[in-house]
């Protein structure tokens, strides 16, 4: 993947597929350049055996073919910077994927366009709620679809006009964020 935001889009789609109603995506950068990515959901969850095998590229729950590369690619992106990945999951409760990255590593994949990742996710699953936060020392970007839904009533988050508003809303916040890695 050319950008970390693409890995995030891909792995967060797993939360959507898991039937999660609430999905949290957080990117927290500290002053030492450590980036922690958390993708948490209240989807169907996985058994300990499945969690163990999910980082294996030749594991997938699909029955049509036998390769699932989303999590292994995220693991590779984290580990090549000296970071790591951790998956906690419980059947019926949900899954949390946490990955850490050393942003100072020469092998760190730039975060890239998180605005497109979030709008793509919301567009693809407008019936779910996403909590997004990207924080670094002195700046943050946030989005809560739950908050938007209170305003929207029964108008879908997936309407092109609403997606356009969300895009501008996030872009504006990123303009004050001072750029991403």
């Amino acid at each position: 993947m050319k950008e970390l935001s693409l890995n995030i889009l891909d792995v967060t789609e797993n939360s959507v597929s898991a039937g999660a109603k609430n999905i949290e995506v957080s990117l927290i950068e500290d002053e030492k350049g450590l980036l922690t990515l958390t993708i948490g959901d209240n989807g169907c969850g996985m058994t300990p055996e499945v969690v163990k095998s999910v980082i294996d590229p030749f594991y997938t729950t699909r029955t049509t073919r036998k390769v699932g590369l989303g999590v292994p690619l995220l693991k590779m992106a984290a580990e090549q910077t000296g970071g790591s990945i951790d998956i906690k999951s419980e059947v019926g409760v949900g899954t949390t994927v946490t990955a850490t990255f050393d942003t100072k590593s020469i092998d760190f994949t730039p975060i890239g366009d998180m605005v497109s990742t979030m709008t793509t996710l919301i567009m693809g699953a407008p019936d779910r709620d996403f909590e997004y936060i990207h924080r670094k020392p002195g700046a943050e970007v946030t989005l809560s679809t739950l908050q938007l839904r209170e305003v929207l009533g029964d108008v879908s988050l997936g309407e092109p006009e609403i997606i356009a508003w969300i895009k501008d809303y996030l872009t504006e916040q990123y303009n004050n964020f001072g750029g991403t890695n």
Binding site: L6, T117, L148, P160, W165, D168
Partner: protein
Amino acid sequence: MKSLAELAAIRDKMKNKVAIRDSETGTRIVVGMATCGIAAGARPVLAQFVEEVANAGLSDAITVTQTGCIGICQYEPVVEVYEAGKDKVTYVKMDVDKAKRVFAEHIQGGRIVTEYTMDNK
């Protein structure tokens, strides 16, 4: 600054529109957004179609949706166009410029851009 008041104004405008949409008879543009599609560049292709539909004011007649892997990963980004009463058209190895052309010539003009279709590969 974008405000929630502005969002409320968009909502009020939308409320009247939602009822008249009929996705059963309209055109559907489906973009493959599995790992293979995303890695090959599907995200900007999807965004381009959404933008074209919005700019043309055709969001009542055309829906842009996402799907998983359809099994031809080597041809990603893959875009399928479904129109009522017509055969599905599968475009392969798409990019932003190809998306613009497909929108103008096929979706709006009714002429399939055969050089980008699956059958041509």
